[in-house]
């Protein structure tokens, strides 16, 4: 055989292998239901229009019994028989407390077993009340999710295994006090997750933060919530790493990160992410600390630097509230260290299109932004000022034009 013919056959053989590999590759891609979105980034720049603000219209005082806590870090709002209830995860008595927000209904306590298969851990990650006979609990490394009835009896348990598109096992989590919540839809659940990697390692930030989980088939259908570049550099953010997830009525999922002014908008059926940018909030961008810093150095940074808290959707006014902490000095004049709540806090108001349309300066020493929610009456924010121990108090804030 002539050398050129030999080379041609070798090339053909080589090409055949490539084609075979490509066919196999596309076959595998086609078979896979697990989609790592998105690939297209659409950038939108937003300018601030300060037309709206909030006013403190009153206080909501709820009388509580001795089994109820005044403050819950993880909770859910439900409507049941024309009554609104706040369900709080009581980590002291390991129960769910059903607290009516109106009317004269008594507070109900759903206590779980202390031991055995029906027991749950005080540091439970996620619960969701679908209905009386369907209360789901999820613990991060537990490989089964549990379903309880309203008497606290275990009705069933189902296997749960969550792997990302790279095959790594991911564990469910909800840093609710940072505004990180799961979203439960009819057919899929959007669960915040973490990989079994050191949070200081760069590999931690190469993973998507939210998994689209099909509980019926115990299957991950997709994932989103990629860390922005600021988290992938040399600096470290400790708890300021955890993004919040906000769901609005348009089936958009908004992901925000404490260190980043941007908002990342995802839709489950789209291969794109809309990157909403806010140059006017650049002074809230957080630079983090050096990766080899100890926890003391991080805590001092946490107290002094600016960062964002959760983004909350108000379906009654079709606006969003974004909580943010300003920079502050570490110490008071007397040398004592300040707390994070002693900083100036802002509640930014955003339109449905995510344009900033106003703001409110929040007294966070009095009103705790880490326990807040929206009802038809307004934005409820936990009020530290209460006359008696048997009270749970909220400030009720209403949206108004400037």
């Amino acid at each position: 055989m002539r050398p050129s013919m030999k080379a041609a056959f070798a090339n053909l053989y080589y090409m055949k292998n490539i084609w075979l590999t490509l066919v196999c590759f596309f076959f595998l891609i086609g078979c896979s239901q697990h989609i790592e979105r998105p690939s297209i980034v659409i950038e939108i720049n937003h300018k601030a229009l300060n037309q709206n603000t909030l006013t403190l219209s009153g206080s909501k005082i709820i009388l509580i019994d001795s089994l109820t806590l005044p403050f819950y870090d993880y909770f859910q709002l439900i409507e049941e028989e024309d009554n609104s209830y706040l369900i709080g995860m009581n980590r002291q008595s390991v129960s769910l407390d059903f607290i009516p927000l109106g009317g004269n209904q008594p507070i109900r306590h759903l206590a779980f077993d202390d031991d055995g298969p029906g027991a749950i851990s005080p540091d439970l990650d996620i619960f969701h009340y679908f209905g009386e006979d369907s209360i789901v609990t999820i613990q991060d490394r537990d490989n089964r999710l549990k379903v309880f009835n309203s008497d606290g009896e275990l009705v069933n348990s189902y296997p749960k295994k969550i792997r990302d598109s790279k095959g790594m096992e991911m564990y469910t989590v909800a840093y609710s006090y940072l505004g990180q919540w799961p979203v439960f839809l009819d057919s899929v659940w959007i669960l915040p997750v973490y990989p079994d990697l050191d949070v200081k390692s760069k590999g931690y930030y190469d993973r998507n933060k939210f998994m689209v989980f099909d509980p019926v088939n115990n299957e991950v259908l997709g994932e989103f919530g990629q860390y922005p570049g600021i988290y992938k550099g040399d600096n470290y953010f400790d708890i300021l790493r955890e993004p919040s997830l906000t769901h609005n009525s348009d089936c958009s999922f908004l992901v925000t990160f404490p260190a980043d002014p941007s908002i990342y908008e995802y839709q489950l059926d789209q291969d794109s992410v809309i990157w909403h940018q806010y140059p006017t909030w650049n002074n809230f961008q957080n630079e983090g600390v050096k990766r080899d810093s100890d926890f003391q150095q991080f805590v001092n940074h946490y107290l002094t630097s600016a960062w964002f808290q959760q983004l909350t959707y108000d379906p009654f006014h079709h606006v969003y509230y974004r909580f943010a902490k300003e920079k502050q000095e570490l110490r008071k004049a007397n040398g004592e260290k300040k707390t994070a709540f002693e900083a100036d806090w802002m509640v930014f108001i955003l339109s449905e299109a995510l344009d900033p349309i106003g703001f409110y300066s929040l007294d966070a020493v009095r009103f705790n932004p880490m326990f807040s929610f929206v009802t038809q009456e307004g934005l409820y924010i936990y009020d530290n000022q209460r006359a008696n121990d048997d009270q749970m108090v909220f400030g009720v804030f209403e949206l108004e034009d400037n």
Binding site: D294, Q296, R331
Partner: protein, 155 residues
């Protein structure tokens, strides 16, 4: 067969080597690192009026990591070591306070309380229990976890 194997290798040299290995591994487990907050720590002691007469001091924020605190309290109940214990914390459950009360009768524990939670105003890097060795000019420290608590507090 097993006995023969064991006898064949249980000479003094082998035992010595094993002992050395055990000591080495313990020393590795009990490694402490330089404490960069020595100056703040000394100012903190003055602020709470605590005079330290022991080589080891444990800073015990009672409202921190539950598993760590509970393990430290359990180990301090049985320790024979002479250690200073500085208790701090704002919101402490009654159950935990009862465990603390039990420690008072241990004469080898020199207990001090930081009643105004002054620790929060000092850079101490003590957001969970830490053990500080003050025996040398340059202090060293280690974070105490449920995994290493017994090694530092009981042995």
């Amino acid at each position: 067969m097993m006995t023969k194997w064991f006898l064949g290798y249980s000479n003094w040299k082998t035992i010595s080597l094993l002992l050395l290995l055990v000591i080495f591994s313990c020393a590795e487990n009990k490694k402490m690192e330089s404490y960069p907050y020595q100056k703040d720590f000394q100012e903190y002691l003055k602020a709470i009026g605590a005079e330290i007469v022991t080589d080891e001091v444990i800073l015990l924020p009672l409202d921190s990591c539950s598993l760590c605190v509970d393990q430290v309290l359990a180990d301090l109940e049985y320790t024979k070591k002479v250690i200073s214990v500085i208790l701090s914390g704002n919101q402490v459950s009654n159950e935990r306070l009862e465990k603390v009360k039990k420690l008072v009768k241990n004469e080898n524990l020199k207990i001090h309380t930081d009643e105004g939670s002054k620790s929060k105003s000092y850079d101490l890097n003590a957001f969970s229990p830490i053990l500080i060795n003050t025996s040398k000019d340059n202090f060293s420290y280690v974070s105490i976890s449920p995994q290493n608590s017994a090694a530092y507090l009981l042995e």
